[in-house]
């Protein structure tokens, strides 16, 4: 289509918002999706991610702001005039048409007469060549999902929008389709905007993830960046698990901040703190469970200098093969989670044992203490 050929095919949302009566589904939002990227909008249900996607597709009219595809302002264009195609949640395949006609639908609407070759090639790409003359209801969920992708991709859209495309599939099939979609995206090089509530899905597939919460983008970045450097408690808790400790800024030591938590001191690189660090101010100190080492209290002397330490007692441990997950009771944080690789297991690390938790300050991150410390936790558990 025009936009894919005109150099820049970025999707640009400028000040876009959506309100329904008094409810604001999407707060004014600026977002740029670079051409050719695999972009994920991640968030719990009701966070506005699907509404954002539908505004790009033209299925929802924004209350304010503009949508640009490349240089073209498409805000006022109806969906059938936008060079964008959507893979719908639960697919929305036409039940009265066979697979071939479903895939050919977009081409035929644009007046293309000889569709056979293109449709067959597209069905090959999604490995459904044999099923061309079947009706959608005769296919399995995974196959229907691939038809939905083929039906959208055959139009060579500037942007492919995917609305929870894997939500209806079982876990194993979902993993398989994630790789499949990633393969197709690499092969065709089209911009994919993928909406999902599954953080693992977003992280495995996307180059860039925008975490959305309550109609706003909480944070945007590469999966590694989001995981290692969360900027809000929501992101810290929604993407994987974080241990968050309430602490108070004590002194600054070069590039590091020294904080008081409980009786002890913790060190945090200033560059990894997204909160203001005035002395005496509150900061939430975060650390991912797999970054922490556990040492029995008797061996506390062997812990190298310069590591952050916390003492506690093992409340619970569960062995899950590759690792063991511990829940530690500590004065600074009631339920500290620690994941330890099962390399050299210390038999003394059983529930009730007194332990020292320690980790490198470089893995510590700091968040603004004015936020809800539990944001993003229930949402994930509910799914």
């Amino acid at each position: 289509m025009k936009t894919t050929n005109s150099g820049s095919g970025d999707v640009r949302l400028t000040g876009i918002s959506k309100t329904y009566g008094s409810f604001t589904a999407v707060q004014p939002l600026d977002l740029t999706v670079p051409q050719g990227s695999f972009f994920a909008l991640l968030g719990a249900s009701g966070c506005g991610k699907t509404t954002t996607l539908r505004m790009i597709a033209g299925l929802e009219e924004p209350s304010s702001g503009t949508v640009h595809l490349g240089d073209q302002d498409v805000t006022a264009l109806p969906p059938y005039k936008r060079p964008v195609n959507t893979v719908f949640q639960s697919y929305a395949l036409f039940p009265h048409l066979d697979i071939f006609e479903n895939v050919a639908f977009g081409l035929r609407r644009r007046g293309i007469k000889s569709v056979k070759k293109q449709v067959e090639e597209m069905l090959e790409l999604v490995q459904l060549g044999e099923q061309a003359r079947k009706k959608p209801h005769q296919l399995s969920g995974g196959q229907q999902q691939r038809v939905a992708v083929a039906r959208a991709l055959i139009n060579k859209p500037g942007v492919l929008l995917l609305d929870e495309p894997l939500g209806a599939l079982d876990l194993k099939l979902r993993r398989q389709m994630q790789l499949e979609l990633k393969r197709i995206q690499t092969e065709v090089g089209i911009t994919f905007v993928h909406v999902t509530h599954d953080q693992e899905e977003a992280m495995t597939m996307a180059d860039t993830v925008a975490v959305m919460n309550a109609g706003r983008v909480e944070q945007l970045g590469s999966p590694t960046d989001l995981y290692e450097n969360p900027k809000t408690t929501f992101v810290a808790n929604f993407l994987g698990t974080s241990n968050l400790i309430e602490a108070e800024v004590d002194t600054k030591n070069g590039d590091d901040i020294v904080l008081k938590a409980g009786g002890g001191k913790l060190v945090l690189p200033e560059s990894r703190c997204s909160a203001p660090t005035t002395t005496g101010g509150k900061v939430l100190v975060g650390i991912r469970p797999e970054k922490i080492s556990l040492t029995h209290a008797d061996d506390a002397g062997e812990i190298p200098e310069g590591r952050n330490r916390i003492t506690g007692r093992i409340a619970n441990s569960s062995f899950i093969g590759v690792s063991t997950q511990y829940v530690i009771d500590s004065t600074v944080c009631p339920e500290f989670e620690v994941y330890a690789q099962n390399v050299d297991r210390d038999a003394r690390l059983a529930p009730g044992a007194e332990v020292v938790l320690h980790w490198s300050p470089a893995h510590t991150f700091g968040l603004d203490a004015a936020q809800d410390i539990d944001a993003g936790i229930q949402e994930e558990a509910a799914l």
Partner: protein
Amino acid sequence: MATLTEAPPPLSPTAPAHKPPRRRGRWTPYWLLLPGLLWLCVFFALPMIYQASTSVQTGSLEEGYKVTWHLATYWDALSEYWPQFLRSVLYAAAATILCLVLGYPLAYLIAFRAGRWRNLIMILVIAPFFTSFLIRTLAWKTILADGGPVVGALNTLHVLDVTSWLGWTAGDRVLATPLAVVCGLTYNFLPFMILPLYTSLERIDGRLHEAAGDLYARPVTTFRKVTFPLSMPGVVSGTLLTFIPAAGDYVNAELLGSTDTRMIGNVIQTQFLRVLDYPTAAALSFILMAAILFMVTLYIRRSGTEDLV
């Protein structure tokens, strides 16, 4: 799965304990079918057999009728009353098409656009049924009365000149013309068209419309390629529910028509109740039934909606 609190296990592996309930259950469906079968027998099969036997009887009212396998009755009835048969099919078809044209937009409106007015409009569609069929048809007699406002308006607009030229009305009269009968049929059977249409339209997933729009179909194309094909089950059942009773109807032709608009229902009614020629009346009924069955079968085959219903 056996639980720990269960009684000691049965001694032999083929314990009879499990069998009786299964055997008792085997006959349950048939017992449940019985009332329905009995109903069908008494109110469908028996009258049909009785009527079939009547249609091949000869005799007179005074001497009584005897089964003589006089199949010529069928041929005589058909050759004498074929114009009424033809007229019935034409009037019923015209009413069905009118019902579809009027009913589809309304059903579409109720299904997709009515929002909170949906229930109210549905009630308005069904409300006329609270009055008797006869009263409603008589009301049309008043509506279409000579010199009434409707006829007056049609006359002023010169609509009646056109319809008279087409042979649908006569002069400045609407009553006692084909148009009046078709209007009556359309009015009386319209809800039978709207309800199945609404049901099948309402079942269409709204995302299919979005998907069609997303795939470059304009609203009109979306209707033509997605909505209408998916509403075919409703179109088929609506047209059948309208056409079949309309073809056999005699009330509308009786009250709103004249001797020139007699339908086959009127003929059967006269034969049964006035001429008292039961064999001819029975034969006509069977011919009508066979004709409708034939047309309906053909229609369903052609519309190819088997896997959509």
